[in-house]
Amino acid sequence: MQAQAQQALAGAKIAGIAQDEYGRPIILVKQDDEGKTRVTGLEAQKQNIFAAIQVSQIVRSSLGPRGMDKMLVSPDQDVTVTNDGATIMDKMEIMNHIGQLVVNLSKAQDDEIGDGTTGVVVLLGGLLEQAEQLLDKGIHGIRVSEGFDSACKVACDELSRIADKVEWSKDNLEPLITTAMSTLSSKIVHRNRRQIAEICVKAVLAVADLDRKDVNLDLIKVEGKPGGRMEDTCLVEGIVLDKDISHPQMVKEIKDAKIAVLTCPFEPPKPKTKHKIDLSSGEQYQKLHEQEQEYFKNMVKLCKDSGATLVCCQWGFDDEANHLLMTNKLPAIRWVGGVELELLAIATGARIVPRFEELSADKLGVAGSVKEVGFGTTKDRMVFIENCKNSKAVTIFVRGGNKMIVEEAKRSIHDALCVVRNLVRDSRIVYGGGHAEMCCSIAVEKAAKQVATIEYHALSAFASALDVVPIALAENSGLAAIETLTSLKTTYRELAEKDNTVHHLGVDCMDSGTNNMKEQGVYETLIGKMQQMKLATQMAKMILKIDDVILDDPTA
């Protein structure tokens, strides 16, 4: 051991040295020439901040209704075009450690809220930019993060203050649709946003549990197929399976179908225990053959006897079983995936049956219509199962001009679904277009003036950081950013002083002639916005706290 330590001492550059009581050096971090690097102190902080800002710069131009998309080329040369912050972050394969933290931040927002994944990263970038200046002034990172913390609290309080409650009911879905449209306005589906917003709202309400105010988005399946036009995107009250009916000559359309949902294959049983059947005579062979035939007949008979008119099987079945099913006039779908099978069971009220013997009439699912639909000139076919017993599971079927558009539309729909879900859970909203950020910025600034300690700087830095969102919005829309923001802020203050109410001013990205976000119908959910602030602040604090980075170069 000692020899090794000596050797290391001799051969390597020593980065961190501590000494024991005899004055012998203890090597904490062995830093040799093979690419291990270590950065400490202010330099480390600055490096981290720089990396995070770089990432946020990349997505910054995607913010807002006039934000631009990114084209991402994967290591396998697949192309994705997207506007969704989380997807961009996910697919750009960031190597830098801090960059990865930022990716996680975006993912956290995606998991929790589903929308605002770009905004949160942009906000983080703004916070860190400001923090860097404070560090330059010589303010300790911890003090900065403490200041950010209290500023965040002020901002969240302000958010709750300016929040409006949207009144919606089953008969008045308009507010929900408007909010979903705000989300969709920055995406490629812009052209059809009204239609898609309506689809999303309907889908969410179809699966929502309004008493518990909960929505299980797993019940909404988003299925896509290139072809058709985006206008053909539709909501299917049931399930769409990307499968075809197993035998070309089975019935392709079934009315009032009774569906058997099976997880057992159409095969002779396969005991889990390892076994061998030894055949030693011709008789035995024949018996085995008969037994096999019997199995097949029995299985089909059990299905038929239960009264099923459609069999959906998780596994495959071979030609013989397939044909037996057909002669018995039992259409079947094979290789249905586990998730689809579950959805199917939920939608049709079927029980998933693991054994043929357990199949009975009451375990069958009911669907008003099942039909196989072909697309275009290719052999692609899909099975639509509609008018299910309890339409608790629905499918949004997306069409579009090419694979990338369909994929992007699916992502956009996911965002819109999340937003509508959030509204069902909590119907409070704030206004978009940078309005919420601007209000918070003003509030934080005000609060800062009442702080006598060094935290004052952190608070006012936070206030300036919040401005980054309206500025980015204005920049992306081709407006004079600083000018727009200052004039907005001044008007807001003047108006607020006059009548002491909240005015919904924001950046007029779409050049529609009004700055009133309420009139423009730009809504965002309160929880989404709050989450953005909290997550971004947390992440900024975390990055500020790091003062030592030890890196192993993976390429070495």
Partner: protein, 530 residues
Amino acid sequence: MGEIFKPGANLQKGEHARLSSLIGAISLADQVKTTLGPRGRDKILQSTGRDLSVNVTNDGATILKNMVVSNPAAKLLVDVSKTQDAEVGDGTTSVCVLTGELLRAAEELLTSGIHPQTINAGWRLAHGVAQKALLDSSSDHGSDAAQFKEDLLNIARTTLSSKILNVDIEKFAQLAVDSVLRLKGSTNLESIHVLKKLGGSLSDSYLEEGFLLDKKIGIGQPKRIEKAKILVANTAMDTDKIKIYGARVRVNSIAKLAELEAVEKDKMKKKCQKIIDHGINCFINRQLIYNFPEEIFAQAKVMAIEHADFDGIERLALALGAEVTSTFDNPEVVKFGECDVIEEVMIGEDTLIRFGGCKAGEACTVVLRGSSQHLLDEAERSLHDALCVLSQTVKETKTVWGAGCSEMLMARAIEDEANKTPGKKANAMRAFAKALRAIPAIIADNAGLDSADLVSQLDAEISSGSKTSGIDVITGTVGDMTDLKITESYKVKSSMINYAAEAAEMLLRVDSIITCAPRERKNPHGRRGM
């Protein structure tokens, strides 16, 4: 410091990204645009595979599919073309060219400082106007059978005019229409079997009323059957395994083994007997038939045909009105196929089996003859395009005038609308109109005509109220489409504009391109190539 991506990754931003994506797409479109129109030219594609096989084609989708493009924007264009191919089957070049022209027009606007999203907003308006104008200019003869057939023939002629089948266009148009009409409204083109046989000339091609199967009849079996009763099956006729897990044979003497073998043989014999007991005189199996069962069938004077591939079997089942069977215990419920005669025929040097006078006439076979494999391949693609368009037209019976007529109508409608639209969007709309006008110009250019002159003449005609004028590239004048009968499917045109607009919008929205570090490949050809 500051490197956040993996080594080898690349981030292009702003102008660079825009340049890379616009130029990429435009140059790809320029590659294929010379194939457009009746006087368009073909491309030779040489594969990078070891055989360096050569492909001569005029079909946009085929060209794009086989070109190895690395530019991400160009890839998107390839995908658009593929979707057009899958959806309607034709217009695969046009969709790509129109996207390119849209982007070219957008580039100009971008350099004059208009925000991409403003262009998109204008395009969305223009697209709506274009679709409406297209719908207005369409005519629908779906209810009038004779007129509709005439429409179909015209469409087939228009589609085929730019392809290799141009040589005998009347014949092939008729052939395509006939075979599509046999489908009776179904769009399942699988039931039209296109058989390519080397030799003869293209004009020797014909539509076989019956069904041709490119297989051999088993040895020693009847070569000609009249009033055939056919069983179409998909079953193992080699070794019929018992599908019970874990079964294995363990014997202690050779005699026992022989006994088992005999039983196994017996089982196959029984199976054959069961099949024969259906009272059939022809048995067609998807899978192999081994010598032993083949012999049994020969003895029973049953014609046995093995190894009809899966599509073949489905088509056969359709043609003969039979069902594909796999079990043989219930002869009473099985639907047999019937046809008047089964015989061997010779085409060129090959023997094929012909099923004449089939019960259900939905499926049919088109026999293509030609002097080289490349010619045949291209002929098949051309015919496929025509068949796709026709089958889609049967579903959506609206038609529009071709030869640049509908493009010009749309362009005119957009410009009229743009004149009423205030703001920068109007510029974008005009750009859209300009892109649409580029299509007839390219067609004229490809024919060696003075496109600038012709297009302005045509525009004057259209502006003065004509709804049927178009460019006659053969004579090089502006003509009336009602006389020239250049008709196109509404669906093809509509989806072409739709896809092109969507793709162009998507590309225009891009402001950065992030290329991840390519995955390291372990030399795929490895040691074998050495």
